[in-house]
Assembly symmetry: C2
Homo-oligomer: 141 residues x 2
DNA sequence: CCAGTTAATGAATATGATTCCCACTATCGT
DNA sequence: ACGATAGTGGGAATCATATTCATTAACTGG
């Protein structure tokens, strides 16, 4: 036997372990900032993996639905993806220039949101909070 | 003379007072929530104004650049527009169901953002904050 | 180890919002 | 009223993302 099966993702997923899924995970795991689907696709090509753009989109969609990658929307409307460390709810501080990002937690924001919502009589409140700026490297020429 | 000119927007804008601009302003002024360009275009048609979609987009773009309307991005990526009361910086609490919105200020959030950014060494930090929930009417069946 | 089952792939095509093009029209200064 | 020119609008262009469907290949039972 030699534990033949499950060469891929390892988990008890209903997903087949494919070369493409592994390559995508590898890229997400090795690059630090937020990337667009197209950038990820390009990086895959650069690494010699010839993977269809549709497949990249498909995987990213599933991964983000499962909460395994976080997404933000750029000013242009393009979606950027990033594999995140913490499972817990958090926000991002993102460099406008290089895309580097820091995960930040926002207890203060959660509380503020809850208070404001309650005052207005709103329920089931969700929120989006993202911070954009210049990281130390890009902001200090 | 009889102060003939300036039939349109009134302000010292460099924009010509056109029928289309007035109609658009009228729609924005009379509808309460956030609307997509297409919804606004449809409403204009409903009111008997035959205005090109391109013109609607053009005006909305200028208005939002001038800060005369606020914009948010729906989950689908579509941009929603709304004429806002206050010139001052503010955020929105928006009903997921009916689109109604309340303007909220977020001193607490601004301060939190500034602090978090400073700690990470980021500069020139900007932020996006939007709250989505169910308004009193839509949340209480 | 092999063949069959079926999910996964990907090239091409579709979609849908937004923008661009450009000939035509209407506003405003004179 | 006239002319310069900003504004208009129909349609084509763009661009990210979704979908289709025939083909490929990952797992599974034998």
């Amino acid at each position: 036997m030699s534990t033949p099966a499950r060469p891929a993702s390892g988990r008890g997923t209903r997903v087949r372990g494919t070369r493409q899924a592994e390559a995508l995970a590898s890229v997400l795991g090795s690059l630090p900032g937020f990337l667009s689907a197209q950038q990820i696709h390009a990086e895959l090509g650069r690494r010699g993996e010839r993977i269809g753009l549709a497949t990249v989109y498909r995987h990213l969609q599933v991964l983000s639905e499962d909460g395994r990658v976080d997404t933000i929307r750029e000013a242009s409307g393009e979606i950027l993806y990033r594999q995140c460390r913490s499972e817990a709810h958090h926000h991002h501080l993102i460099c406008r220039v290089c895309g580097a990002s820091v995960e930040v937690e926002g207890r203060a924001v959660e509380q503020w949101a809850a208070k404001v919502a309650a005052e207005a009589g709103f329920t089931a409140v969700d929120h989006t909070v993202e911070l954009f700026g210049l990281c130390p490297r890009c902001g200090t020429p």
